[in-house]
Symmetry: D2
Subunit: 139 residues, 4 copies
Amino acid sequence: MSELERYTVTMPHELLEAFDSRNERKGYRNRSEAIRDLVRDALIREQWTEPNCRAAATLTLIYDHHTRAIGDRITELQHDFGELVVSTLHVHLDHHNCLEVLVMRGMSEEIRRLADAIGCIKGVKHAQLTLTAEGRDLH
Amino acid sequence: MSELERYTVTMPHELLEAFDSRNERKGYRNRSEAIRDLVRDALIREQWTEPNCRAAATLTLIYDHHTRAIGDRITELQHDFGELVVSTLHVHLDHHNCLEVLVMRGMSEEIRRLADAIGCIKGVKHAQLTLTAEGRDLH
Amino acid sequence: MSELERYTVTMPHELLEAFDSRNERKGYRNRSEAIRDLVRDALIREQWTEPNCRAAATLTLIYDHHTRAIGDRITELQHDFGELVVSTLHVHLDHHNCLEVLVMRGMSEEIRRLADAIGCIKGVKHAQLTLTAEGRDLH
Amino acid sequence: MSELERYTVTMPHELLEAFDSRNERKGYRNRSEAIRDLVRDALIREQWTEPNCRAAATLTLIYDHHTRAIGDRITELQHDFGELVVSTLHVHLDHHNCLEVLVMRGMSEEIRRLADAIGCIKGVKHAQLTLTAEGRDLH
């Protein structure tokens, strides 16, 4: 845990009121925590508009496991991308549908390419890439 | 302009460094300005997940003005929605294509409905709704 | 698996060319698969602008497990929300940081409330909600 | 207007039903129009994840025109960026607040840089960049 720094922020009274009531509704205990979250979120969103960088991400899939060979194809693709996929979680939604989450670490372009490739597989009904950062960039 | 309030924020040293260098790259002169922008942006984004509220928005359209009667249809629809559309701006992109921006004020559900209706018109190639707030909510 | 229907789509030649080359780059084998994905994605995104509906979602967290009692708090909150959280996946990113994914099913407002509550916990550095649908709505 | 091509799409019955009822709610007259819109929207969104490309965009600003010299600063910045800004629209929201829309054409990185620079100006309460395409890329 790194050293904490303190600094002063100025804000119009009404903006602070709106911010405080938003923070209370969400459950924040203090403004600093809320501001740190806004800052980290902005840094992560902006990082992902950069050309290529180290990152972490999750890919959320909904697919019909009755589609022929779909499980094998999803697994094969993951292996094609070497050590990009760290771990996966599988949930049975109903008789037909599975939800699967892949946790990925690596270069952002590779992450996007794997997400595209899996999203294209027949039987994958929805694929959504969620971009985050490796912890060490986040303080 | 409302009264300014001051308060102290604590932040890990490395997060502050990353925030400062981001702010410098973007052109912010001080942290308070950058934080106020993050707070206002969060308030606006969260407001638009609420069911229905007063709001302002812009609708950016790309359309081919050679499509039969397209200008009339876009105008008619605006009149159907009463005073929702405050003003419009028209830019000629090339021989075929126009970019048009509609500035809207009113209830957010009405704004979405008009955006949907215009987006469906044949010849409208791209319609994108940008959500903001009426100034009085922003301090 | 439900019955397949066929219908004809018309599209300007150049748009079709751009679509085909995008599909090839992404890895789609045929246009129908690419169109089905676009349709399902639009349905899901639009569903989430509705006030409250049944849905599935994942919440991706990055947190510092050295923060006092953070694991307990995240777990307690999940229990407060009854059966909303179906399953979780935990990945160790480095000495300090964990990535955790929660898979949730239930009403969309509850899902948002839990995501807010967890995002506010001290030590949770990034929380990102990814909205999808329960499989039965997706064909 | 380019030549129209026809092709056949297959879709599960229930997905088609959901798509049709969505299209009717929005106001689409036929499926082809709805599909063309989804395709163009996907192409535009994906284009903007590319490093740098020709594009069009709008920047929506809310600002307090009482802030000293704010109008001059916004104007100066636009001139610094040469011919990037094609046109602007100004709306008086209330005694304090203005909404201004800038229509921009040029390279996407330049567009982002100008948007950042204007967003940082003191008194600019909200700046939102909306990405679209020049018409010639959209058929």
